[in-house]
Amino acid sequence: MQAHDSSPRAATASGNPPIEMPSRKTAASLQTADVEPASTGEVAAPSVAGAEADVLSRAQAGDHHAFAQLYSLHKRRIYSLCLRMVGNVAEAEDLTQEAFLQLHRKIATFRGDSAFSTWLHRLAINVVLMHLRKKGLSVISLDEAMEPTPEEGPGRSFGAPDLSLTGSIDRLALERAIAELPAGYRLIFVLHDIEGYEHNEIAAMLDCSIGNSKSQLHKARLKLRDAMRTIPRREGRR
């Protein structure tokens, strides 16, 4: 039986508004949900960060209502990340649940070395990658995702641009191309180009350098472009 006073909706109504999904321009401001700024340039509004720190502290002490508040604050972004990584609602729900279940298990171990949302995202990312690995999909570890591999070496992308891509893009073809990206590239593409995180935030989540994040994103975009060039465009479809 669900206790009404511990539901996330009750938590939201108690004065802790949920984080809005970021537009690309506002990703940095979402760090207001973080407990404290990390050394990677994350910024938190002091008053909100203080309230968050209080909620986090209580959740770490086992306060179920506080945990519900954390869920309410972060559920949208975690669910969104899962959904965009697996492309399936049922799986995304399961992965979101697993990520928060792991959060519940591990929350007492959070030491504040990074922003809380960064830590939570890293946890969720590992849940997603583990899931993809179990499914036998082309999964590489976070570390491997951030390492260049020979097949993606210089020169592979060479080619004249396909000007038909400029202007209109087949939506379904792009969705399919994203879904078929290797998990490491899909992850960085989703985090930056779809979720709107900045490179310094991604670097903190994936424990890589900002330069690495930038170059891997570029390679992911090149792979998408290559895939789009090989997918026949449909007559009359934009």
């Binding site: 969104s80 729900e93 400029t166």
Partner: protein, 82 residues
């Protein structure tokens, strides 16, 4: 170090990821300034990124997910105690 002004397209494209990783703004790179093909390539990549931003609607998970999560948390707690 290669002279950026005298790069071929292949040489430039081979270095793109590294240049981006080092923080360089490719739109002002000397090769891009004079090469229509590579400028178009950069535009294509940006077009793909822009299109991707509009792909997926943003949704909250269903409310039932919290109920499932609560149940799972309670079950874990019971197992720990037993």
């Amino acid at each position: 170090m290669q002279d950026p002004k005298n790069m071929t397209c292949e040489e430039f494209q081979a270095q793109m990821a590294e240049l981006i990783g080092s923080g360089e703004d490719l739109s002002v790179h000397p090769h891009v300034q004079t090469c229509t093909l590579c400028r178009a390539l950069l535009n294509e990549l940006e077009t793909i990124a822009e299109a991707a931003r509009q792909l997926f609607p943003v949704e909250d998970p269903p409310d039932t997910l919290w109920e499932k999560l609560e149940t799972a948390i309670k079950e874990e707690g019971n197992q720990t105690r037993s």
